[in-house]
Each structure stands twice: as structure tokens, then as C-alpha cells.
């Protein structure tokens, strides 16, 4: 199995420095992500203004909002928070709780609230 605890030169977080050349590459990536996040946000706002709730296309719009949000979140975490540059074990330690608990919480919360809604609609106040 791949060893993930070895500390080579410069891989320890306190020694993580880079030169001006490498800095330019990193900044280029930051600007790319900035433009991407702005474009997605603009698209979200325009969709929010032009598509109305309750129309036939709305479920599709709603799911595209959620997908766009997840794309934005992924870019913020991986590039801005540098999680992409961390050790694999650290990545999993941070992301696993969400894959396990939050997805489950969302499932339980939405299922249960839909049932409650149904009960109210069936039996009234």
C-alpha cells in the first residue's frame, strides 16, 4: 500500500513555498476559477429571474441550480481551500462525513417532511 505519512522536502505545509514562476501558474488558475464562479452565479440569477415556479420546466431549473451550486462548492474547496493539494487521507477525512451523514440527513429530512405534508393535506387542520 502507498505510504502517505512520509514527509519529503517542501511537502510539509509550513515549508510550502514556491517561486515567482510557479506563482504565475497558480494565479492563472485562481483567475480562471474566479471567472467560472462569476459566470455560474450570473447564469443562476438569470435563470431565477426568467423561469417561474410551478411551470413545467421548473423541476429541471431547480436541479440545474443544485448541480451548479455543487460545481461552485467543489471549485471553492478544491482550488481556493487547496484541498486538492492535500494528502489523500486528509481529503477523505474531511469529505467522508458529508458523504455519509449529510446525504442521509437530506434523505431522511425530505422524505419525512413530504409525508407530513401529505398527512396535513389528507386530514386537514
Amino acid at each position: 500500500m502507498e505510504r502517505d505519512d512520509l514527509i519529503a522536502n517542501d511537502s510539509y505545509s509550513l515549508n510550502a513555498t514556491h517561486d515567482a514562476e510557479h506563482g504565475r501558474v497558480i494565479r492563472k488558475k485562481i483567475y480562471f476559477v474566479t471567472i467560472l464562479l462569476s459566470v455560474i452565479t450570473t447564469a443562476e440569477v438569470l435563470m431565477g429571474v426568467f423561469f417561474k415556479h410551478g411551470t413545467a420546466i421548473w423541476p429541471f431549473v431547480k436541479w440545474s441550480f443544485i448541480v451548479m451550486t455543487l460545481v461552485k462548492a467543489a471549485y471553492i474547496v478544491v482550488v481556493f481551500m487547496h484541498l486538492g493539494d492535500e494528502r489523500k487521507s486528509l481529503k477523505y477525512m474531511i469529505l467522508a462525513p458529508y458523504a455519509i451523514f449529510v446525504l442521509y440527513l437530506i434523505f431522511v429530512g425530505i422524505t419525512e417532511s413530504n409525508f407530513i405534508n401529505e398527512v396535513w393535506q389528507t386530514y386537514g387542520e
Partner: protein, 282 residues
């Protein structure tokens, strides 16, 4: 899997066990731990919001119909203000990541510049949120309810300390926005207004003009909790900025403290991305 590190690193930065798991420093790892737990809190709040919304049988307010105002401008600008707030937070996240990058090049001048811009962005965001809250709480002219459960929207705002008779062109609208919309003016409107049981205008913890009480409660709690995080983030950045001015990090030889407060700052942006979608868009 587990084994000893191949190279001895400085005793000052090692953890007490003699090793540094994940090859990150103690402080950075604990910031991640904190963010993991904090993100779970926000997940819980947003799922609770989703729960209330799906369980509610009536019409839940639509974001673009509640948030359509702009400061200094009258008219309808759906979601524009909150979109500007989002851009502001994204941009301040960008200046923060540029400060971290400059820190890795040991370029202190740039770190100061970008961190100062981040603080300014954060303060602007806080100000915008204060305006948004004030507007949400104050609301419009509102509506009245009558004994027979009629709901009439006011066409004109009644100033504090005045009654409907004092307001010129006072009118009431029933079934607003529907096909059978009726407008009452003059004596009839004043008569209905005087028979009101309740006048709802703006929002507070028990009632609001936008929708069910939970709507305003979740708005206050979720955006308030996020705003509190922004405030804390600005405070952390100011402390880091003071240390920068005093040259603490130059003496230390690395700028990891900027990176740590940067993690927190990006997290605030991350939470806002979700709040923006689930509170304003969906």
C-alpha cells in the same frame, strides 16, 4: 500504512507525538476539523429549512418576489442585490486566495495588499446584509386581515402615528395578483381598514407579510448565523493583518496563519453559495 517519517523535521513544528499526520501543521489541521463540524451545523440548518418548506402545505414565498429592491433605486430588480452580495463575497474570497499565494512566495507587501482588500470586502458584505435585514424587517405597506378572514393589501403606506384617513389615495386590494383582483378606494377602503383584526407589515419572529412565520424565522437564523461567521472572519483577518504589520510572520519565516484564516474565509463563501441557492433561488 503507518510508519515513521523519512526525514526529521524541525522539533518546533512537530506534534507532541513526534510526527505530523497528513504532513500538515497542527493549527491547519485543527482549522479543518473546526470547519468540518461547522459545515455539519450549517447542513443541519439548511436541511431543517428544507424540512419546514416541504412539510408546509400552503404557498412558500418565492425568492425573487421577496427580494427585489435596490438601495437608492425604486422599482423591481429581482435577486439583483443578493447577486451583488454573492459577487462581493466571491471577490473577497479571491483576494484572500491571492494573499495566501503571495504568502507562499514570501511577498509580504502583496499579502498585506490582498488581505486589506479582503477585509474591505468583508465589511461591505456585512453592510449589505444589514441593509437587506433592515429592508426585510421594514417590508412594504403590508396587508390587513378582517374577521371574515379576508386579506387586503394596502396600496399606500400609513406613516407612523397616522391613520388611514390621513393618507391621500388610500386603497386596499383583495386577491392581489389573481384574476379576480378587486381594488377598494375612498370611504369603502377606510371602512374595511377600520374593521381589521390584524395589520401585518414587514417581518418579525411571530408574523411576516411574505409567508409563514417559519420563513422569516429561518431567514433570520440562517443568514444571521452566516453573518455572524462573516463578522468573526473579518475579526480574524484584522488580527492577522495586525500581526503582519508587526512583522510576526516575517520573523516566523512562513505565512501559514494567513492560510488558516483564509480557510475560514473561504468556508464562509462556501456556506453562502449554499444559502444563496436554497434560500433565494430554489
Amino acid at each position: 500504512m503507518a510508519g515513521e517519517a523519512s526525514e526529521a523535521i524541525d522539533k518546533n513544528v512537530l506534534w507532541d507525538g513526534g510526527r505530523s499526520p497528513f504532513s500538515v501543521s497542527y493549527g491547519k489541521m485543527m482549522m479543518w476539523f473546526f470547519l468540518v463540524s461547522d459545515a455539519l451545523t450549517f447542513s443541519g440548518l439548511l436541511v431543517a429549512y428544507g424540512f419546514a418548506r416541504h412539510a408546509f402545505t400552503g404557498a412558500w414565498p418565492v425568492g425573487e418576489q421577496v427580494f427585489y429592491s435596490m438601495p437608492f433605486l425604486s422599482g423591481h430588480y429581482p435577486l439583483l442585490y443578493v447577486a451583488l452580495m454573492t459577487f462581493l463575497l466571491i471577490l473577497s474570497s479571491v483576494t484572500m486566495v491571492l494573499a495566501v499565494e503571495a504568502g507562499h512566495r514570501l511577498d509580504e507587501r502583496s499579502v498585506k495588499k490582498w488581505l486589506a482588500l479582503t477585509i474591505v470586502g468583508g465589511l461591505f458584505f456585512l453592510g449589505s446584509q444589514a441593509w437587506e435585514w433592515s429592508h426585510f424587517i421594514h417590508g412594504s405597506a403590508g396587508y390587513i386581515t378582517t374577521v371574515d378572514e379576508g386579506k387586503y393589501w394596502l396600496t399606500e403606506e400609513i406613516p407612523h402615528g397616522k391613520t388611514a384617513i390621513d393618507v391621500e389615495g388610500f386603497g386596499l386590494v383583495a386577491n392581489r395578483g389573481e384574476d379576480n383582483e378587486i381594488e377598494y378606494t375612498g370611504q369603502k377602503a377606510i371602512e374595511i381598514y377600520n374593521s381589521r383584526v390584524n395589520h401585518v407589515s414587514g417581518a418579525n419572529m411571530t408574523q411576516n407579510e411574505y409567508g409563514p412565520p417559519q420563513y422569516a424565522n429561518f431567514f433570520f437564523f440562517i443568514t444571521g448565523f452566516h453573518g455572524f461567521h462573516v463578522f468573526t472572519g473579518v475579526l480574524l483577518n484584522v488580527i492577522v493583518f495586525i500581526s503582519l504589520m508587526k512583522g510576526t510572520y516575517r520573523r516566523r519565516g512562513h505565512y501559514e496563519m494567513v492560510e488558516k484564516s483564509g480557510l475560514y474565509w473561504h468556508f464562509i463563501d462556501l456556506v453562502w453559495v449554499f444559502v444563496f441557492t436554497f434560500f433565494y433561488l430554489v
